[in-house]
């Protein structure tokens, strides 16, 4: 069997006396949409930032398709095929929507140090195709600063896809969106995952998104992994109910 797209093993990170992460291990296969959930302070962001290279773990390994990438800089990890979107979507505000995607393509292709020829023609067609896929083609010439927030999130997704990543890290992909936008966004991610054979790791607070769309769910609480399994298995797990939901039934918040 080929190695999983992402495999984290025994990740541990302390801040002073606090265990932000304590021996967390899981893996993601190609084409899989994995939700990482947990109450506030469970260690989701720490886990994300370690995979992305923004934080170095105290111990443990991160492997991308079998290759050890622990402790590499974010830009190296990006170039190895890890796309990332942020909880508060950030794009390059002084550029047009098209230029944003072109920039991401230029960076992914290692053409950043081209000093003479204009960037305008670099990856023009590919950038338009990505905007088409994310439903932003009509906005190509607009300044990114003028986009509505939902569209900024889509633009960020288009940019994260520019490097043709094997793995997509999405920190709360639907935060700050209306209910309709949320469903449209996650449906888009779902469809891209299938079409491109992507592996997606995402955190999410919206339970309708998690239980309606994820293939598998990993639950963290106080830095420890307490459940890892199918949506159904996690929903019925008593430990998850106790820690995460305080014992309440999870079906209440599920709106498929």
């Amino acid at each position: 069997m080929s190695s999983p797209v992402l495999e984290v093993s025994a990740l541990t990170k302390h801040y002073g006396g606090v265990h932000a992460l304590d021996g967390v291990s899981f893996s993601i296969a190609r084409g899989e949409l994995l939700a990482l959930i947990g109450p506030n302070g469970a260690g989701k962001s720490t886990c994300f930032n370690i995979v992305n290279g923004q934080i170095r773990p105290d111990s443990g390994r991160v492997r991308l398709a079998g290759r050890d990438i622990t402790g590499l800089a974010p830009r190296h990890i990006a170039r190895l095929g890890v796309g990332r979107t942020f909880q508060v979507a950030t794009v390059f505000a002084s550029m047009t929507v098209l230029e944003n995607v072109q920039m991401a393509l230029i960076a992914a292709r290692g053409q950043v140090f081209g000093l003479w020829t204009a960037a305008r023609h670099r990856g023009h067609g590919d950038a338009l195709a990505l905007l088409e896929q994310t439903g932003l083609a009509a906005f190509a010439a607009r300044p990114a600063a003028t986009l509505a927030y939902g569209d900024v999130k889509r633009l960020e997704l288009a940019m994260a896809l520019a490097g043709d990543p094997a793995l997509l890290l999405m920190d709360e992909p639907t935060a700050g969106m209306s209910s309709d936008e949320r469903q449209a966004m996650i449906a888009l991610v779902r469809q891209l995952t299938r079409a491109r054979g992507l592996a997606v790791l995402f955190t999410e607070h919206a339970m309708d998104v998690v239980f309606g769309h994820a293939d598998r769910v990993v639950v963290l609480a106080r830095g420890r992994l307490i459940a890892d399994g199918s949506v159904e298995a996690v929903r019925d797990d008593p430990a998850v109910r106790a820690v995460y939901l305080g014992g309440a039934s999870i079906t209440l918040s599920q709106t498929p």
Partner: protein
């Protein structure tokens, strides 16, 4: 070198450390609470010294020498603090919400104004103060005589450190200061009178600086160059110690002062058959200390990473290539400048003035590459102007190289310097970047001043005349025009190239840029080196245009001229700095040379720009047109 002389210098180092600490501590406290880097901080130190040498004899006549001396020191500190409070209320309150760059510029304008005010009140001559009554003797230590006053100064630093520590930990005011340093919004939300707190903190910080200056009364005369030299030192100390940390400031002050003292104590040293005069390497030592600390701890010994601050002000509009009209205007301007030699037949001064404008335009355009697309406001761009000018002048006079080759040497010198200094600078952002660039520029300036055998010291190098065909006013002018046009076209192409896009991306969002695979620091380093290279060309042309180069021409004033040019025209387009360069050159030529106080006038002009047109003249005019 003996153990005794080493010890002697060590005590001396402690005395100097106290002075450095007093300036840096105030700077640090003010930044912690108000998030403003007070560029005029050295000015308050200088004012403290001037006030002390004025007050001490006056008080001495009434109360006698001892009371006069100490009364003069404390009086000077109090008056400085009061002036600080006044400045906070009148000026700073208006700019707390302004972009960082404008805050830096506004306080720098203050530096210029205070310097000219001091010139007006006290005149250009150095003023000596009285000696310290009761401490004017010296103590025998291991067979050498240590001035008592130095020992006193060595003790003062730790005492002030202790006092500040007690104030910050034991009083309500101190708690507020610490709370505001950690989370300003929270303090505001808790309903604390922020305005009063900010005024008090600014008064405290400037008061300590004034106290530090006044204490120097018995050691050095009051003079007008103190503000900038102290500011440069204070920046080094703060960058080394970590912004916002008081004990960091003391440790860093001690480290810097002791390393300098050590160099002085070592004197002539022989290494591998070569004799080095270590006492003249104090500046290089200071640079090395800073470099080592920054490599190991980028935020200083006790500093913490600056929280990511949202970019203030609206996002820029996307850059577009020039349309037909824009291209026609650019062509018309080019044709006009190419025709200036013809104009010279009627107005003989025209080519000279136009040459100044071209040099200024290239200088401003190179700075704009960093400031605009790069979002990195350098307060020390004069360093690369100076390296270019000195490199060219040295190659042309001492080495006797032909003109084009000499210019190439100058450009290479500037590029090499920019690569060296830039490597450190691009690790930092925002105000830290501004401080470090300024500190490096101070170092270049001091080296030009000190290394007499290479740079000619304070007289500089002269007789830097170009060979034929560049020896006529028109010949040099046309060559400068060609170089400036090449430089501007190069910058323009860079901005639209993949590299330029990556530079703008790194400015817009460093996080996103890194996550997309852009090596932000490498991109910025290359931009820094290219800006330095083009700036060096401007410096080389300047040396040939004036026939000489001296430290005067590469002082911080030139860095600020560059900033003003860029801001006059607006940061957002390359046209802006070019217009600003032309405008400021004309203004300096026509108005400011007429008055001995033109630096102060420049300061007032900067304040006017900052307060009236926070987005530059071009932006301001655009907004006025829209509202009318």
């Amino acid at each position: 070198m003996s153990f005794e002389s080493l010890l002697f210098q060590a005590v001396n180092g402690f005395a100097s450390a106290s002075g450095l600490f007093l300036v840096a501590a105030g700077l640090s406290i003010i930044f912690g609470v108000t998030r403003i880097v007070n560029m005029a901080h050295g000015s308050f130190y200088m004012l403290g010294l001037y006030l002390a040498v004025t007050l001490a004899p006056l008080l001495g006549e009434v109360f006698g020498g001892a009371l006069g001396f100490w009364g003069g020191i404390f009086g000077a500190a109090l008056v400085t603090a009061a002036l600080g409070a006044l400045v906070e209320i009148v000026l700073l309150r208006r700019i707390y919400a302004a972009p960082e760059l404008y805050q830096l510029l506004a306080t720098f304008a203050l530096l210029l104004i205070i310097n000219d005010a001091a010139l007006y009140f006290w005149g250009p001559e150095d003023i000596l103060g009285p000696r310290a009554p009761g401490l004017s003797g010296s103590v025998e230590l291991l067979g050498r005589r240590l001035p008592e006053y130095d020992i006193f100064l060595a003790v003062i630093g730790p005492l002030v450190l202790l006092a500040l520590h007690l104030i910050l930990t034991r009083t309500r005011f101190g708690r507020l200061v610490r709370a505001a340093t950690q989370d300003r919004e929270m303090v505001a939300a808790l309903g604390i009178n922020e305005a009063a707190l900010f005024t008090a903190v600014f008064a405290l910080g400037t008061g300590i600086a004034g106290f530090g200056g006044a204490l120097q009364m018995a050691r050095e005369p009051a003079n007008l160059a103190l503000d900038l030299s102290v500011l440069g030192d204070a920046f080094v100390v703060v960058v080394v110690g970590g912004m916002g940390s008081i004990r960091g400031a003391y440790l860093a002050a001690l480290l810097v002062a002791e390393v300098k003292a050590l160099c002085t104590a070592l004197g002539l040293v022989e290494i591998g058959g070569y004799a080095f005069n270590m006492s003249r390497l104090t500046l290089v030592a200071e640079f090395l200390v800073m470099a080592v600390v920054l490599v190991v701890r980028p935020h200083g010994l006790f500093g913490r990473p600056q929280p990511v601050q949202a970019r203030r002000g609206e996002a820029e509009a996307p850059l577009m290539p020039l349309d037909r009209r824009g291209r026609l205007i650019a062509l018309a301007v080019l044709v006009f400048f190419a025709g200036v030699p013809l104009l010279g037949a009627f107005i003989s001064y025209a080519p000279v003035l136009a040459l100044d404008m071209l040099i200024a335009a290239l200088f401003a355009a190179s700075l704009h590459l960093l400031m605009g697309p790069g979002g990195l406001a350098s307060f020390g761009h004069a360093a690369y102007f100076g390296l270019g000018a000195y490199g060219t002048a040295y190659a042309a006079t001492v080495l006797g190289l032909p003109t084009p080759l000499a210019l190439a040497v100058g450009i290479a010198t500037a590029a090499a310097g920019a690569m060296l200094f830039g490597w450190f600078c691009v690790r930092l952002e925002g105000v830290y970047f501004a401080m470090l660039t300024l500190a490096f520029a101070q170092i270049v300036w001091s080296i030009a001043h000190q290394s007499e055998e290479v740079t000619g010291g304070s007289n500089g190098l002269f007789g830097v005349w170009p060979d034929p065909p560049f020896d006529s006013a028109n010949g040099l002018y046309l060559a400068a025009l060609a170089i400036t046009v090449i430089g501007v076209v190069l910058i323009r192409r860079l901005v639209f190239s993949p590299f330029g896009l990556a530079l703008r991306a790194s400015r817009d969002s460093r996080l996103r840029a890194e996550a997309s695979g852009i090596a932000v620091e490498k991109v910025r380093w290359l931009a820094f080196a290219l800006a330095g290279l083009l700036c060096g060309a401007a410096g080389g042309l300047f040396a040939f245009a004036k026939g000489s180069i001296s430290p005067e021409a590469i002082s911080v004033g030139r860095s600020i001229d560059g900033l003003v040019m860029v801001l006059l025209g607006g940061v957002h387009s390359l046209m802006g700095p070019l217009i600003g360069a032309g405008g400021l050159t004309l203004l300096q030529d026509m108005v400011m040379r007429e008055s001995p106080y033109w630096r102060g006038l420049l300061g007032l002009l900067i304040l006017a720009i900052v307060l009236l047109f926070p987005s530059g003249l071009a932006g301001g005019l655009r907004r006025m047109r829209r509202t009318s």
